[in-house]
Symmetry: C2
Subunit: 152 residues, 2 copies
């Protein structure tokens, strides 16, 4: 039997490292801006693409629609985003940053890039690029199948 060593088992190591990175980032955002990870993701997506809807954010980020809904409500209450009823679909909102949201984003975005550099800047030349490419290849292998590899 081929042996199994947890230390070399890729799904474990991936989860382990990812959790550490997420923890570090989450702490920083909470402390600096009072934003949870879902909330800051919404801010980032909306800044990139004004007028998106919650469903579009779900598709793009893989977050659950309930998570997105809660984050949107919270950001709305803090008046960081505006939720205008969509003209073309009266069930949906078009999400946009308010002025306050744009001010926040102007602080958040550079900080995000700085954190990224702190963590991934120590990698060798090309290493980060290859790493990102491999992550994308894994996504492709998992496919659009909601991720149930074992269902065959």
């Amino acid at each position: 039997m081929e042996t199994l060593r947890l230390d070399d088992f890729l799904p474990f190591r991936l989860s382990y490292t990812s959790n550490r990175v997420s923890g570090a980032i989450a702490t920083a955002y909470q402390r600096l801006f009072g934003l949870s990870i879902p909330e800051w993701r919404l801010v980032a997506v909306i800044a990139e693409c004004d007028g998106t809807t919650q469903a579009a954010i779900c598709a793009r980020t893989g977050m659950d629609k309930v998570t997105v809904s809660r984050a949107a409500i919270a950001l709305g209450k803090r008046e960081l985003i505006a939720r205008r009823p969509s003209a073309s679909d009266r069930r949906a909102f078009e999400l946009g940053l308010t002025d306050a949201g744009q001010v926040l984003y102007a602080q958040v975005a550079p900080k995000a890039l700085e954190l990224e550099r702190q963590i991934f800047g120590g990698l060798g030349a090309g290493e980060a690029t290859r790493f990102l490419a491999t992550l994308r290849r894994i996504d492709a292998i998992l496919g659009d199948s909601a991720g149930d590899v074992s269902a065959r």
Copy 2:
């Protein structure tokens, strides 16, 4: 201002892919063996290293001690692991697989390796190796500092 694109933002992509992989694995283990991810990790560690204690498992896997405690109790109830009071430290248990646990492990381990191959086998030659090495480098960068990058 250097632009921030969520699609290229490494902490996000890492979390995204890791969640998909974990989800796939978790579903498979739940369905096949009725094991949660913490539980199957305990089985794997104990199989590798008979007589370990819960604290050692925490150190090795980064899991919270409460999580480990719960998993150990659950596995004990199912009589997959035995929890013998440690001779040298009467607070601790020495954990070991029962006969039933070993039977289970003999099924679980090959399946784990097969799942790993299904997901990571599609990567190019050396790509998986480099990927693992990069994960370890990231761990090293984060250091032992409980992961608070922002605390400076």
